[in-house]
């Protein structure tokens, strides 16, 4: 089993790059895996090709190729291994229906991606402090 702090499901390479930069600044020792789609994330979590990945927090983008963020949350909530994990949507969408649907699918939280780099750094810093540092996980 490969333990990581964060599994980030994101298809946009720019966003992945910003994420990596920000995370390194927050804490050099943080570990993370990136999956470009829902199916890739699910195979990582199930260890289909490699050691199964076991994250302490999963960040999910909304608009993804294949499964949408909401569908990924729904699917992970039905999986015995992932049903207790903190699942936080990290999306530019502030559409009320997207937010509502996410919580109904079983999301733990919903962060609207800030349109600025600084704003996003602050959001990820908060998320790190809460979910990785403070949160007691199962």
């Amino acid at each position: 089993m490969k333990k990581v702090d964060i599994l980030y499901i994101e298809d946009n390479p720019d966003d992945v790059l910003f994420f990596e930069r920000i995370v390194k600044k927050i804490d050099e020792t943080l570990t993370f895996e990136v999956a470009g789609s829902g199916s890739e994330a699910i195979s990582l979590l199930n260890g289909e090709n490699t050691d199964p990945v076991s994250p302490r927090l999963i960040l999910v983008d909304m608009n993804l190729p294949g499964l949408s963020g909401v569908e990924i949350v729904r699917s992970l909530r039905q999986n015995q291994k992932t049903r207790h994990l903190p699942l936080v949507i990290f999306s530019t969408s502030d559409y009320p229906s997207d937010i509502k649907n996410s919580y109904e699918a079983g999301a733990t939280g919903y962060l609207v991606k800030s349109s600025s780099y600084k704003g996003r750094a602050q959001q990820l810093d908060h998320a790190h402090k809460f979910w990785i540092v403070s949160n007691q996980y199962f």
């Binding site: 946009n12 720019d14 966003d15 910003f18 930069r21 608009n63 530019t92 969408s93 559409y95 991606k113 349109s115 600025s116 780099y117 600084k118 996003r120």
Partner: protein, 752 residues
């Protein structure tokens, strides 16, 4: 005393009188045995044999007295021929020599009897003459262009064939009372044309017999009738004389004719579409006998007349029908054209008034009353419609005496004694109405119709007696109009179909547009979402990279590079805001409005505080007056005030002593808020652009803004059913006003 009503006459058994008129004689034989079973007692006046002696004798015994003028046509042979053909009709009449007299034999079957009737033959015209007469009368009758002319000519021909003193065409009305509609008479006689006769003058069973025997002759009112032998007793095999040509006349009818001074009468039925339309009634003031061939000719003419009546339509009528038809077409075109039903019916080249002979018309449609011509007032029409709904007139209704049915109509009987109505929707009370004015009619009765039958008490029994007086008796009929003609009624019904058709089409069209609109809205939603995501994502990246440049590569950049990067960042911010604003503007049209009372003081205070924090220099002096609550969606209303107040800030900070005054008042149905500044003001030439999307005014280029705020404000206000406007003077300041309906006025406007 027993009541005598008009129906007492209806019960008199006139088809089995047990006697015949004495201008001829009757022999009835059994249909199979040919044994003589009934004989009229007057037979002894014609042959040397008595009724008693003939009973139960074979029919051949009559051969001793009666011979056919045609050889080989003895009575038995005639009976055989008729039996084989199952009809005697075509044998009639047979010319017979009865003792020394020439007579016509008329045969018919009745129950188990075959009835032989002998009546005089009067050869005052030969067969050829009749044919000529018929040909000429046919041409004349069928050539008549109007109903009056048609009836007049028919009467004229019947008079010349039968030679009666007076020949009338008598038409039955709805209630079976009759009117003389055409008359030909000897010049010295008083005219009966136009007189009305009560229904009881020709009782029901008499009318039934008129349908069965088309011709009925009473040749001498004063002669006594001849009894049948043996006496007809109830329960025995009574001879039904319904089809008899000699059948005796009811004593009541004899008395009636005598009272009128008539000595002989003949009636020929006019049957139209199986219904007794009327009679050709012939009167003679001395006894008069018309023989069988002449009666047949008259009957023939009456049948031609009947057939013509069935298809006849006055030419004047057909002109009107054509006009009505083309008006109907035109109305349909007008309604369909712009799909505005009411406009098409009342405001076009043609209107609903023209499809009837009415003098006024009203359209009650979509909560509006449209009046044309002479009509009751709008309120009266509305009351009338309520009454129509209450009597369930949910398709078609017509009356010629509205005030008798609906009392309030007495007030406008001069305009609407006659009403024709078609219902478009009983639930919505939508109708088209046509009116006809009161027409005071003088109906002249031949005698007071209420005294048409009198009862006499004789030996404790009631005996019917017809009226004795035929003195003209004039009745004034009020509260009634000219009748609604068939073509008016059918035009109205057609119009109803047309209107309902157009209304349905219109509803379908609206439904279709609505569906399209829904689809368009859904597409717009999807589009907005796509924009928000797809445009924002690269923009965010652009911005983020720029931020990274500034933050992480600070030392490697000179001031000019930093300045340029700063401009990139600001442009990206601006574009991001624009996208955000467009989206919120677009979403406004779909979001639900959740109305509640909004505590405006809190809203305004918060806004002012926020704006004061954002502004670093030169804070305006803000005065807040009365703040009555507004009734609306708190988020949206908050947006309006954020936009207006921040504008007041933005455009007044440059003033020497910036001042802003905010206050609200309640006036009537509205709560009006004003936000007044003493800023740069707006050139009123550009006033119309203030609320346009993405429109910024001339002198504002150095002030931050996107041209979206006021467009959003206006859209919100409109969605709340309110108003937004402003007053301004360049260099002196601007006041914006927002007026929204108060809670009370909003709730009272809700459909109950």
């Amino acid at each position: 005393m027993q009541d005598v009503d008009l129906t007492s006459c209806d019960r008199e058994p006139i088809h089995i009188p047990g006697s015949i008129q004495s201008h001829g004689f009757l022999v009835a034989v059994h249909k199979d045995s040919y044994l003589i079973k009934k004989v009229s007692t007057n037979i002894s006046q014609y042959i040397r044999a008595s009724a008693e002696a003939l009973i139960d004798q074979p029919v051949q015994v009559l051969d001793a007295y009666i011979a056919s003028t045609v050889p080989g046509s003895a009575l038995e042979e005639l009976l055989n021929v008729g039996r084989r053909n199952q009809s005697f009709e075509w044998l009639n009449p047979q010319q017979m020599q009865v003792a020394d007299q020439e007579m016509n034999l008329i045969i018919h079957a009745s129950g188990e009897y075959v009835v032989l009737e002998f009546e005089p033959r009067v050869t005052w015209m030969d067969v050829l003459d009749y044919q000529k007469l018929i040909t000429r009368s046919l041409q004349e009758v069928q050539g008549a262009k109007t109903l009056t002319l048609l009836l007049d000519r028919a009467a004229k021909w019947v008079k010349s064939i039968t030679g009666f003193d007076r020949v009338m065409v008598y038409q039955f009305m709805e209630d079976w009372h009759g009117v003389v509609v055409a008359e030909q008479k000897e010049p010295h006689l008083e005219p009966f044309l136009g007189l009305h006769y009560p229904a009881s003058d020709i009782p029901k069973q008499a009318r039934q017999l008129y349908l069965r025997n088309l011709v009925r002759l009473i040749s001498d009112v004063s002669s006594s009738s001849a009894r049948l032998y043996p006496d007809e007793k109830p329960g025995s095999n009574i001879l039904d004389l319904s089809d008899s040509v000699l059948r005796a006349v009811s004593p009541i009818h004899i008395e009636y004719l005598k009272n009128m001074g008539v000595m002989a009468s003949m009636s020929i039925s006019l049957v139209v579409k199986g219904k007794l339309w009327g009679l050709i009634a012939c009167h003679h003031y001395t006894p008069r006998f018309v023989d069988y061939p002449a009666r047949n000719t008259a009957r023939f003419i009456s049948q031609i007349l009947s057939a013509t009546l069935e298809h006849h339509r006055d030419e004047t009528d057909s002109d009107f029908a054509n006009q009505i038809y083309s008006t109907g077409q035109q109305l349909l075109i007008q309604m369909t054209k712009d799909r505005n039903v009411a406009d098409g019916l009342v405001n076009g080249k043609d209107n609903i008034l023209q499809i009837s002979k009415g003098t006024g018309a009203a359209l009650v449609f979509e909560d509006k009353v449209h009046l044309l011509g002479e009509t009751p007032s709008e309120e009266e029409v509305q009351d009338l419609v309520k009454w129509l709904v209450s009597i369930k007139a949910d398709n078609f209704f017509q009356t010629t005496h509205l005030p008798n049915q609906f009392v309030p109509a007495l007030h406008y009987k001069d305009k609407a004694s006659g009403l024709m109505a078609i219902c478009l929707s009983p639930i919505l009370g939508e109708y088209v109405l046509w009116f006809k004015p009161e027409q005071i009619q003088l109906v002249t009765w031949a005698g007071n119709p209420e005294k048409s039958v009198t009862g006499h008490e004789e030996d404790g029994t009631v005996r019917l007696s017809p009226r004795k007086s035929f003195e003209k008796w004039t009745q004034e009929v009020k509260n009634s109009s000219c009748p609604w003609e068939d073509i008016e009624i059918s035009a109205a019904l057609r119009l109803r179909e047309d209107i309902l058709h157009v209304v349905t089409q219109k509803a379908n069209e609206i439904r279709r547009l609505n569906d399209q609109l829904k689809i368009a809205y859904e597409e717009l939603d999807a589009f907005s979402y796509t924009i928000s995501h797809d445009l924002r994502t690269p923009l965010t990246s652009l911005k983020s990279y720029t931020e990274i440049l500034l933050e992480d590569f600070d030392e490697q950049l000179d001031d000019e590079a930093k300045h340029i990067i700063d401009r990139i960042l600001r442009s990206a911010d601006r574009m991001s805001m624009l996208i955000q604003n467009v989206l919120s503007y677009a979403r406004l049209s779909r979001s639900d409005i959740k109305k509640q009372d909004i505590p405006m003081h809190t809203v305004i205070d918060t806004l002012v505080e926020d704006l004061n924090v954002a502004i670093t220099s030169h804070k305006p002096k803000v005065t807040i007056g009365a703040t009555p609550p507004l009734y609306g969606d708190p988020t949206m209303i908050g947006q309006i005030f954020a936009n207006i107040i921040s504008n007041a800030y933005k455009y007044s900070v440059a003033s020497a002593d910036p001042q802003i005054k905010i206050e609200g008042t309640v006036t009537g149905n509205e709560t009006i808020y004003s936000v007044k500044d003493n800023g740069m003001g707006i050139n009123m030439n550009q006033a119309s652009k203030v609320f346009d999307l993405f429109k910024r005014l001339d002198n504002t280029s150095n002030i931050e803004g996107h041209g979206v705020g006021m467009a959003i404000a206006k859209r919100i206000v409109n969605r709340h059913g309110g108003r937004i406007w402003f007053q301004s003077k360049e260099g002196e300041g601007t006041t914006f006003f927002v007026a929204l309906p108060t809670r009370e006025s909003f709730e009272s406007a809700l459909p109950s």
